[in-house]
């Protein structure tokens, strides 16, 4: 026959042991080695922060400037506005009936962030294309004029993997603005005209 006090003591001990002994990975510094990791080929070339605290802009409505040097623009009606992070100044998605989608973003950084060739090559890496040399960049990159600002337009297509990027780089007032459209090749090319119209609607504050 069990003695009651022994049973009670055993149960209390078990309960305390369960709670105290099984601690989750605690507050200790851990040191370990890992193999060198391959670079994320699919990581976006430009930051796309997860924060969604800023208000969503409405498609087709010129954006009110949050800051003095943010340009206004008019996005096509079928572009669905997405929440902005603290670095994205514009963000849209376009969906087609087959479930494909493309991502359109506007970002700004001070200076030239490593130069146009470095940025274009990051985008090329993103869609698994070999980097351009300076000569190739000079040959294939187009010059555009947006609101009297000279910029660069590139169309990058990976026909094998069916991916594409059309992007424009506009230097203005010491900053560089990046307008980028990324997604399945067929969809991106279908939106090329709309994207260029969107670029032409960009107006920097005077």
């Amino acid at each position: 026959m069990f003695k009651q006090k022994h049973i009670l003591a055993a149960l209390l001990s078990l309960a305390i042991a369960l709670i105290t002994a099984c601690k989750k990975e605690g507050d200790n510094i851990v040191v370990y080695t890992v193999p060198k990791e391959a670079k994320h080929a699919n990581a976006p070339a430009m930051p796309t922060p997860p924060s969604t605290t800023q208000p969503m802009p409405m498609a087709g409505v010129p954006v009110e400037s949050a800051h003095a040097d943010t340009p206004s623009w008019t996005a096509p009606q079928d572009w669905q506005a997405q929440p902005l992070g603290s670095l994205r100044k514009g963000s849209w998605k376009v969906f087609n009936q087959n479930g494909g989608e493309i991502d359109i973003s506007v970002l700004v950084f001070p200076g030239d962030v490593g130069g146009n060739l470095a940025n274009v090559n990051r985008w090329r890496e993103q869609i698994d294309l070999a980097p351009w040399s300076q000569n190739e960049f000079n040959t294939f990159a187009e010059e555009i004029l947006v609101d009297n600002v000279k910029g660069t337009l590139v169309t990058l297509e990976n026909r094998t993997d069916d991916k594409a990027i059309i992007a424009a780089i506009l230097p203005h007032a010491g900053n560089t603005w990046y307008f980028k459209m990324l997604g399945k090749r067929e969809l991106v090319l279908a939106q090329e005209y709309a994207f260029k119209e969107f670029l032409l609607s960009v107006s920097f504050p005077k």
């Binding site: 009670l8 193999p35 060198k36 997860p50 924060s51 493309i102």
Partner: protein, 385 residues
Amino acid sequence: MRQLFCIFSSLRLTVLLLACSVLLVFWGTLAQVDLGIHEVQRRFFESFTIFLPVIPWHGHWLHFPFPGGYTIGTALLINLACAHFRYFCPSWKKIGIVLIHGGLAALIISGFLTSLLQVESQLWVSEGEKINYSESSRDNELVIIDTSNPEEDTVISIPLSLIKEPGVVEHAALPFQVESLAFFPNADLGLRSQNPNTPPTLATRGAGVKMDIAVMPKPVTYKDNEPNTATAYIKLTDADGEMGTWLVSNMIDERFPAQTFEHGGKTYRIALRFKRYYTPYWIELVDFNHDRYPGTNIPRNFSSQVRIVDPEASEERPVLISMNHPLRYGGLTYYQAAFANSDTTSILQVVKNPSWRLPYFAVLAIGLGLITHFAIHLITFLRKR
């Protein structure tokens, strides 16, 4: 002791504890509106005491202590065991009761073990990519990585609990002191040129200076789909003096140039990132499929054709992970959770729960116990007739 034993084995205590459980679940469900499921789980069910708003008082709520999940669970377990030994008469006819009580106790214990041992993380993998780690979507770590070795990196992972308050962190593996100057559990990061009224940066090296990033602290969010941007200013000091102060944040991730520095002939990288859980094997995404009902965008099925590459076990095999068909490998379970990047990136929920089998055994024991107990009673009844 006898009196205490009588209290713990009381059936009135059982009713009281079950009533408390109902109230706890009720309040916890209401609190999910403001706190989200994970914070509610932590505060209500993975705690000993919770202060509940019970009485409104001049526009505020008066809070009263209430037993949390751990207290109720522990008390229920002790109550169940004490009651069992108090009222139990050893007999083969009671074998069903033993199984039922054993199963219930195992179920409560499995709840404890799950809350204490389970670790959840996410694995983002794009088509053609191989990944050997998953990342927490809520917990962060400050890492200082020695990248000098061409084959492997040595990672020194410092939990955020050590840098939340300003202070110095030292460790035998660190050839310098790590000092937290400021920590922000959540913040917006922006360019100072566009946020001119923000406080001056403390950073003297790295992205914080090069990009002139301004930090704008904001309240912690508990929304499940909105991660907190943990951010800190970290100063490193060696025997020769200050090496510099870096701005680190889980938003300044691999999309930005790595924040590196040289010390003692070695190259180090400093980062604050979502906590990583490495595995000795790789998961390679061969193909992600997102099936829809014809003519609509309504999802019908998500599935990831992956390949496990495990050099230690000399194993390399294809596996299909789809909804309700997770992969169990290496003590982890990989569930198809979501997707991104135009259906080219698969997001797998990775769950480590060493006690995952226990609830199955518990429910099996309870089921068997009920059947046995019912069968014994039925046979006894039929014999009497």
